[in-house]
Symmetry: C3
Subunit: 423 residues, 3 copies
């Protein structure tokens, strides 16, 4: 062990969030090419996503959402027929500025009617999008137009309020980010994530909207780990992560390597006096949470839902676990009745790993392996709702910098082979 | 589009909750007959419910709860044998004033023993109602008396602490509202809601207390939408909604058309410095949440649990969804084995709607249609835990004013038929 | 009724948490022998647990965790093969002081590889314990060493980040308590609890890690009520309860007899301006919550998860409930197919109680009765995640003082036998 793993006082102050000017300080030493000038806003990064283009017409920002059936890929090996907007699920992020007047056309190319509700936005009642209550349903083939002024900044969402249980389960959702004119709490990195759950039964190609709790795929912006973009930041930067949840479960989102504060909800900024320090924020269904922190510790830090089944991919939860049972003779017999069946392993699931690829083992058709991330030190054994916060002292760009190499003496190490080892 | 949908600055300040005197301001222009004088407290409105009468005896308020089996109707078409108090589930709301001494008789007319626990109230240990621990069980036919002084104001609950899993599942619960002597945060409208879940298997007439997660009926004060009373308020009024949860799931209660603050729990008022702005509050099981806001935007605003299955009525979650499958030939075959079976529809559930009634389709005996609200623009496609906040500039009374008619130019509109339409 | 149940003004101020000096006041009148001097820290009490011994080596605290298969007993009558640390699940609590340098050896005696993640601790990336990402997996038989400095005080956790879903489900977890050098918010009693859920199918002896929601055993520190240690405190003492959750469900922890404040998370202290008063705190999965209160009311107060199924022991949730059905003839027939089957009872579950023992009824082999606590007034009808806060005016030690005897006139009492009874 060396002294290299001793964190500097500044790093700790940054990590604890007590250095109020931390973001600025980080920015002051930030010389990388990808950084915007300090007077301007950090670009919003929707992981694995994009923002919806708009046209200005007479001072109004015009957007166009197209509700439609799409081909969606969670990760190579699992494709489904889903419903989304403009070719993806979630749909593209709508970005605008506080005070903007927006006009949003919605064209329905689904086989059934729909509407769009603008979750968390204060607007005239007739624009609220509850089908039957605030407007007629948008029939297949029709286009409707919504128009309103965005009075407040913050993280909002859009989704149907028509046959909602089915349409949301099929993937119809997106984020709305309303930037303040001047951000009193500027950040250098600004990420956006929408959480969802899916029930795709083995061998099928469409989500099952009748499932209420027992989902088998857990996604950030429609993807599972390791197909979810990492969040790349420079040491010392102030970072915001906006997390929306339109699944059926609360998700306790846990960040390694930093203590954050919960600074906003879908109703706007939480006053500083009311903010809680956390490493795990329970994001409610139908809510958004903005968290902010200073990335003071370089490294590769996991960011994931802490429900351990939500960082796995498809499993058959209804099959009793034969852990501790010799299964060599059992598997072929079960497989006769459940094609593609694999037991959990006699000693745990780790034994399933095949070191020549990223998967735990082969799986039924159109089914992901349960855990598939590969790291610098072997398989990560994670899937689902997880990504990596990559904090680096130096960055040439915000492209994935690869894996972190811990300085000598700052990594857990094997000692059992040392002849002098006596714990 | 006209300018009518531009919200006034005052409306926005009200909506953002920054106009501290908003309630007063609203009240000052409030000339309707149903309004109480500003010096007095707004009457508590338990949606679809009532408050328990009391008698004064020597300075003590005497109440009488009768635990008993009842006939309960979630909505026309679904009646069950439930357990409740004084003829209903939830039982009547107990209302009192901070400082009151209360004496509560509890008569047990159930077929098994019971007790009553006064959730969140600080009282002598022998009055706490945990059967076996704080008192003997109340045997069938017996009457017990509880007596204590209510030292703090706020939203509390009562329920059995005897065979609790069964008795709560059967409907035994109620609200206790303790008003402050002088309310430092007066409101003009004060609503109370208790959330619950029920497992009533198709064709049966009693809730199944052994169900832990997979419930099929989600209620506010024992009713499902659209049988739940609307919350009628005048524009500019300060509104409080008290929400208790004695179900088995957290419920993220989401309000359209206003940003609220969470101002209280079952331990009392949250200091203003600690209050969060929200549109969705996750109400914990065994907890209460008071939310407050100014109703600044006229209209019909949905208020509902944001878990999309919780705004539906009974479903068979265990039946795989044949969305995208031609079902015309399949249904009769499945129906042979599952009487009353209806598939989800080939293109979604919207196709099931029968426009001559409020239901998606006919259902098995004693089973509600999944979604049944009818609005001014067609079926609402909602059920379960939902009601409507009806905000009106003018009100003759707090009776249901019917549906809101959005001023011309303030409603989403169909443009695809316009010859000039080019998005 | 007498005046004895009138709470004093001081008691109420204490209970409401408004008497800031309450802890000190309580301490000032605290003359019992078990109390530490006011200048020193209250010893941490891990219910049913212990703290891990350490050795000082060159200014570093050395700990040694051994991951291994163990025999675990939830309560007499249910033993399983689980995975834990140093012979128990949860493993021993790691206690240290803010600023301590710690060196932790981890020896893997499991049949598969593992790692340890130090949840919520800011440390060098190579010490973070995500297998594959931050370090190689620790193979069976190997010992790894972690070393870092504890910069912040608070409640943290440790658990594997390798085959995590399986290993956590099998019981691998423990608490880390980092005391401040000087506690600005001293308490006289300091309790620590780690929540978990288990799926032990009837007749089996190993948890089933493939279960995602339908668990049947709910534990505090690996035990079920009434095998969970009570929390014994003296009237007037300031009390802290630290609650971690590594299960798959949020748990709304509810305290009778006091209003607490949520004062900390796994990222440290919540500023006083942001603290919420509560009686029920929803502890997120993968999070910790510290609550504090003054124990102002003497008595035996239940402290439990408020999800009613989580205060029961093993149940067959998949068997429809025959409540209201005459079952005398039915049970033997069902039992032919489900050995050990017991129906819920015709009139509720209370009828199952056998007064000669603590159980509701006999159960299948290796299965606990659903509810088993016995109190001074009969069966408590609770199991699972529950214990009792025992507040006493006088204590000779912190050993279990037995049950509270409510002063005459302060207990709910039967009045139906009184000849003069007219409610």
């Amino acid at each position: 062990m060396t002294d290299r793993d001793t964190l500097s006082r500044r790093q700790l102050l940054l990590a604890a969030g007590v250095a109020g000017a931390a973001g600025g300080a980080g920015a002051a030493t930030d010389t990388g090419p990808a950084r915007a000038p300090s007077s301007s806003r950090a670009p919003l990064v929707t992981l694995n996503g994009r923002s919806l283009p708009f046209k200005m017409k007479g001072g109004v920002k015009e957007f166009h959402l197209i509700a439609e059936e799409i081909e969606h890929e969670f990760a190579p090996g699992t494709r489904i027929k889903a419903w989304g907007y403009n070719g993806s699920t979630p749909g593209p992020t709508i970005e605008a500025i506080e005070g903007d007047r927006v006009r949003i056309f919605v064209t329905n190319k689904l086989p059934e009617h729909t509407t769009v509700h603008w979750h968390g936005i204060l607007l005239p009642n007739g624009m609220d999008g509850v089908g039957g209550l605030n407007q007629p349903q948008i029939a297949p083939g029709e286009t409707y137009v919504y128009e309103f002024t965005l009075r407040e900044s913050g993280t909002r969402m859009y989704h149907p309020h028509a046959d909602e249980m089915v349409q949301v389960a099929m993937g119809m959702m997106g984020l709305i980010i309303i930037h303040p004119r001047v951000d009193p709490h500027p950040v250098q990195r600004d990420f956006a994530i929408l959480l969802h759950n899916w029930a795709v039964h083995p061998g099928t190609y469409r989500p099952d909207p009748s499932v209420m709790t027992d989902f088998n795929l857990w996604t950030m912006n429609g993807k599972v780990f390791p197909m979810i973009d990492p969040m790349v930041v420079r040491t010392g930067q102030r970072v915001r992560i906006r997390i929306g949840n339109l699944s059926m479960h609360e998700h306790p989102m846990h960040l390694h390597g930093a203590h954050f504060k919960v600074v906003g909800t879908d109703a706007g900024r939480i006053p500083e006096s009311a903010q809680w320090p956390m490493t795990t924020s329970l994001v409610p269904v139908g809510g958004t949470v903005d968290i902010e922190f200073t990335a003071s510790l370089p490294g590769d830090w996991a960011f994931h839902c802490h429900k351990s089944h939500h960082t796995m991919n498809a499993m058959g939860h209804e099959i009793p676990n034969p852990l501790g049972v010799k299964q060599r003779d059992l598997d072929p017999q079960i497989s006769k009745h459940l094609p593609g069946y694999f037991s959990m392993g006699e000693h745990g699931m780790a034994e399933h790993q095949v070191h020549t690829d990223m998967s735990f083992h082969d799986t039924p058709e159109n089914t992901l392996p349960m855990a598939m991330g590969k790291g610098p030190y072997g398989n990560l054994e994670m899937g689902g709702m997880m990504t990596i916060l990559k904090v680096r002292d130096r960055l040439q760009s915000y492209a994935d910098p690869g894996f972190y190499e811990a300085p000598a003496g700052t990594r857990a190490r094997r000692v059992s082979q040392d002849p002098n080892f006596k714990p």
